[in-house]
C-alpha cells in the first residue's frame, strides 16, 4: 500500500514537472500593442494578452498545484466510467495560430507539438489504449519547401523526445509504444532509419500505442491494403474468396486497431475529414469539430468532449443491453428468495373430463 502510494505520488510529481516544463517552453512574450481601429488586430491582441497573463498566473506555484491536481482528479473520475479505446486528432490551425500572434510559422508548429504531448499525457492518465494523430498529409508536400523541411525536422526532433520519455521511468509517458504509419517511401532514408530506431526502442511499451500518421492519406492506406491483399493471394496462396471485411481491415496501417476510431477530434472549424481515417470513422465513429485552433486546444475542451462521449456511451450500452435493471433484480430475487418451481404435468395424469354433449343431437 505504502509502495503504491509512493509510486502514485511519484507519477503525479513527474507529470507535474512535465507540465511545468511544457509551460515554460510555451511561454509567450508580451504582445505588441495593436492597431486600435482594426477589429481583428484588437481581437488578436486580446488573445495574446490572455495567453501571456495566463502563463504568468500559472507560474505561481500554488496556482499551478491546484490546477494540476484538479485536472488529475477529474481524469481519475472519468476513468472509472467508459473510456474510448481509440482517440484521434487532426491537428489543424498551427499556422493560423502563429499568424495571429505575429510569430514565424515555426513557433506555431512547435506550440502544436507541445499541445499534442499534453493531450498524450492526458490520454495516458485516462487509460486510452490507442492515440493517433495526423501529422502530415501526402498533399502537404505541395507546401513550400522550407515548411516541409521544417515539419520533417520537427517530427524527427519530437520523435526522439517521445522515445526518450517512453523509456524514462519517471516520465508520465513511460511505456508508450510509438509507430509512424503512412507512405514511408516518400521520406528520406536517413529519417526512415531514425524512425525505425525509435520504433524499435519503444517496442516493449504496452500501456498505450501512439500512431503518428506521417505522410498519410486514407485513400493511400486503402490502396495499400488492396495491393497487399492481392499480393498475398498471388504469392502466399491465400484464396481470394476468403478476403472479407475483417481480414482486409487487418492489413491496413493500424493493423488490428483499424476497424474503428471512437473519437475523432478536428480543430479549427473545418467540417471535413481531409482524407484522414475514412475507413475507421465512417461507421459509428464520433467526430467532434471545434473552432479552436490546435495550439489553443486545452484541458477543459477535451474534458467536455470526453464527458460527452462517456455520457452517450453509457446510454448506448444500456440501450443495447436491452434488459431493464428492474426486471433483472426481480428475477434475481425471485429465483433466490422463492425457489418455487412448477412441476411438469403430463396429459395422461389429468382426471377424466366430463362427458362431451352436443346440442344438435339432443332430440
Amino acid at each position: 500500500m505504502a509502495m503504491e502510494t509512493i509510486a502514485r505520488k511519484d507519477h503525479a510529481k513527474a507529470m507535474e514537472n512535465e507540465v511545468k516544463q511544457i509551460q515554460k517552453q510555451l511561454r509567450p512574450g508580451r504582445p505588441e500593442p495593436p492597431i486600435w481601429w482594426s477589429y481583428t488586430s484588437v481581437r488578436r491582441y486580446l488573445h495574446a494578452q490572455k495567453l501571456c497573463v495566463w502563463s504568468y498566473f500559472l507560474e505561481l506555484s500554488w496556482v499551478h498545484w491546484v490546477v494540476f491536481h484538479t485536472q488529475f482528479l477529474l481524469l481519475s473520475i472519468l476513468q472509472v466510467g467508459p473510456v474510448p479505446q481509440h482517440v484521434s486528432f487532426i491537428m489543424d490551425g498551427n499556422r493560423r495560430y502563429a499568424k495571429s500572434l505575429n510569430k514565424p510559422t515555426k513557433s506555431g508548429h512547435e506550440a502544436g507539438a507541445w499541445t499534442l504531448l499534453k493531450m498524450l499525457s492526458m490520454c495516458k492518465t485516462l487509460g486510452v489504449k490507442i492515440v493517433s494523430a495526423y501529422a502530415f498529409s501526402i498533399e502537404n508536400f505541395n507546401r513550400p519547401r522550407e515548411e516541409v523541411d521544417l515539419l520533417t525536422s520537427l517530427l524527427a526532433e519530437k520523435l526522439d523526445e517521445v522515445g526518450r520519455r517512453a523509456l524514462d521511468r519517471k516520465s508520465e509517458l513511460f511505456g508508450v509504444r510509438l509507430r509512424v504509419v503512412g507512405e514511408r517511401s516518400m521520406i528520406s532514408k536517413e529519417l526512415n532509419d531514425r524512425i525505425t530506431r525509435v520504433e524499435r526502442m519503444t517496442d516493449g511499451g504496452d500501456s498505450m500505442t501512439l500512431y503518428v500518421c506521417f505522410p498519410y492519406t486514407s485513400r493511400n492506406e486503402i490502396y495499400h491494403a488492396v495491393y497487399d491483399t492481392a499480393e498475398s493471394c498471388k504469392y502466399h496462396g491465400q484464396a481470394a474468396e476468403d478476403v472479407d471485411v475483417r481480414s482486409f481491415t487487418k492489413s491496413m496501417f493500424l493493423g488490428d486497431n483499424s476497424n474503428r476510431c471512437d473519437l475523432l477530434i478536428r480543430t479549427s472549424g473545418h467540417t471535413r475529414l481531409s482524407d484522414y481515417m475514412l475507413w475507421q470513422v465512417h461507421e459509428n465513429g464520433v467526430i467532434e469539430f471545434t473552432n479552436t485552433l490546435w495550439p489553443d486546444f486545452g484541458f477543459i475542451e477535451f474534458f467536455v468532449m470526453l464527458l460527452r462521449w462517456s455520457f452517450f456511451a453509457c446510454l448506448q450500452r444500456r440501450e443495447l443491453a436491452n434488459v431493464s435493471l428492474r426486471s433483472q433484480a426481480f428475477h434475481l430475487f425471485k429465483n433466490n428468495l422463492f425457489p418455487f418451481k412448477r412441476k411438469p404435468v403430463s396429459y395422461e395424469d389429468l382426471p377424466e373430463a366430463p362427458q362431451a354433449v352436443s346440442v344438435v343431437l339432443k332430440s
Binding site: 472519468l78 476513468q79 501526402i138 493471394c233 498471388k234 452517450f312 453509457c314 446510454l315
Partner: protein, 350 residues
C-alpha cells in the same frame, strides 16, 4: 478494365437478395434509435445505472482494484471506498452534463423552429432559386443521408424515406444542382425504386407545371441500371435530364471495396493482370464507375453527425453539414448547408 467492373457487378448481384433483410446497424453513440441528444429523465437514469454498475474498461483501474483486494482488510476497504467515491463523482458530473445538454437541446430546437419559419419555400421554385442566387458557388454533387424513422411516427417507415428523398430532389432541381446522391443504410430507396420515381414525379409536378415536369434519371450503381422518369413514361430518355439521382446503400461502401479487392486478387493470381497495374488511379476510376463520384457536400438530417457507413472512399474532401438536434428533412437545413459550402475555403494540403 471493364472486366473488373463486370466481375464486381456480378458479385454484387449475387448477394443482393441476402442483403434485403435490414442489417442490424449500431448507430453512432450520439445518434441512437431514440434520440439520445434529448436527455429525458429516463435517459439520465439509464446513463447513471450503466455508469455506476458497469465495471470500468480501463485496465489500470481494474489492476488497482485487484491489487488492493490482495493487500489485506484495510487496503481493500480503502481502495473500494476510493472507487465508490469516484463512481459517485462521475454520476454527479454526468448529471451536470445532462442538465447542460438539456438546455442546449431546448435552445437548438427553438433555433430550428425559427429557422423553419424563416425559410419555407412552400413548393415555389422561384423562391429557392432566389435564395441560391445570392451564393457564390454551388456544390457540383450533393449527397444526403436519409434515415428510416419508426413505422408509427409522423413521416416514418419506408414511405417517409421516399417522401424525404423526393422532396430533396425537388429542392435540388430548383436550386440548379445537377447531381444528387441519396444514401440510406438499408437501401430502402433502391429496393422501391419504382415507387420512388412515382413519388419524385408527383412532387415535381407540385413544384412545376404538371404538363411539363422536369426530366430526371435515377441511377442505381449497385445493379448498374439507369431509369428515366416514371415507370411507363420512359420515352424521351435521350433528351437532356434536369437532374441525375444516384441511390446508394451500405452495400456500396466497404463491401464494394472488398469485392474489388477480391476481383483484382483473382485476376492477379490467374496472371491476367500484373501486380504493378494496381494503382491508386485504377482503384479510383473503378470505384467511380462502380459507385459514383465523390460528393462535394454531404447533408445529414439527424441530431448529430453519423456517417452510417457512407462509402469511405467517397468522403475524402467532402464538406459535412448537419444541424444539431434537428430530426427532420427540412428546407432550412438544405439551404444553410449550401450557404456553408459557399463560404468555406478549400485548400488541399496547402
Amino acid at each position: 478494365m471493364s472486366k473488373i467492373q463486370d466481375t464486381v457487378l456480378k458479385r454484387q448481384d449475387d448477394n443482393w437478395r441476402e442483403n434485403e433483410q435490414d442489417h442490424k446497424r449500431v448507430p453512432a453513440i450520439t445518434n441512437g434509435f431514440k434520440n439520445p441528444g434529448k436527455p429525458s429523465v429516463g435517459n439520465v437514469k439509464k446513463v447513471l445505472e450503466t455508469a455506476v454498475l458497469v465495471p470500468p474498461n480501463s485496465e489500470e483501474v481494474r489492476r488497482k482494484l485487484a491489487q488492493r483486494n490482495k493487500t489485506g482488510m484495510w487496503g481493500q476497504s480503502g481502495g473500494r471506498l476510493e472507487y465508490a467515491m469516484y463512481k459517485t463523482l462521475l454520476s454527479v458530473l454526468l448529471v451536470i452534463y445532462a442538465c447542460v445538454r438539456y438546455a442546449q437541446y431546448e435552445y437548438n430546437r427553438v433555433k430550428i423552429l425559427v429557422l423553419n419559419l424563416a425559410y419555407s419555400p412552400s413548393n415555389t421554385p422561384q423562391l429557392i432559386r432566389q435564395d441560391v442566387l445570392k451564393l457564390q458557388k454551388l456544390p457540383r454533387r450533393l449527397a444526403a443521408i436519409l434515415e428510416k424513422k419508426r413505422e408509427g411516427d409522423v413521416g416514418g417507415g419506408v414511405s417517409g424515406v421516399l417522401n424525404d428523398g423526393s422532396e430533396l430532389v425537388a429542392w435540388s432541381v430548383s436550386a440548379g444542382i445537377k447531381h444528387l446522391i441519396l444514401y440510406d443504410h438499408d437501401g430502402h430507396l433502391k429496393r422501391n425504386v419504382d415507387d420512388f420515381r412515382n413519388n419524385v414525379s408527383h412532387k415535381l409536378s407540385k413544384f412545376y407545371d404538371p404538363s411539363n415536369v422536369p426530366r430526371f434519371a435515377v441511377r442505381v450503381p449497385q445493379w448498374n441500371k439507369v431509369y428515366f422518369n416514371t415507370p411507363g413514361a420512359e420515352v424521351g430518355a435521350a433528351k437532356k435530364v434536369a437532374i441525375e439521382i444516384s441511390l446508394l446503400s451500405n452495400r456500396d461502401g466497404r463491401e464494394t471495396i472488398i469485392d474489388l479487392t477480391r476481383t483484382m486478387a483473382e485476376l492477379c493470381a490467374q496472371n491476367e493482370m500484373k501486380l504493378s497495374d494496381i494503382t491508386m488511379k485504377l482503384i479510383d476510376s473503378e470505384l467511380t464507375q462502380l459507385v459514383g463520384h465523390e460528393p462535394d457536400l454531404l447533408l445529414y438530417f439527424g441530431p448529430s453527425l453519423d456517417l452510417q457507413g457512407f462509402p469511405p472512399w467517397h468522403i475524402r474532401l467532402t464538406e459535412f453539414y448537419w444541424e444539431q438536434d434537428n430530426d427532420q428533412v427540412t428546407y432550412s437545413v438544405f439551404i444553410r448547408g449550401l450557404k456553408k459550402f459557399a463560404s468555406c475555403k478549400m485548400n488541399v494540403g496547402k
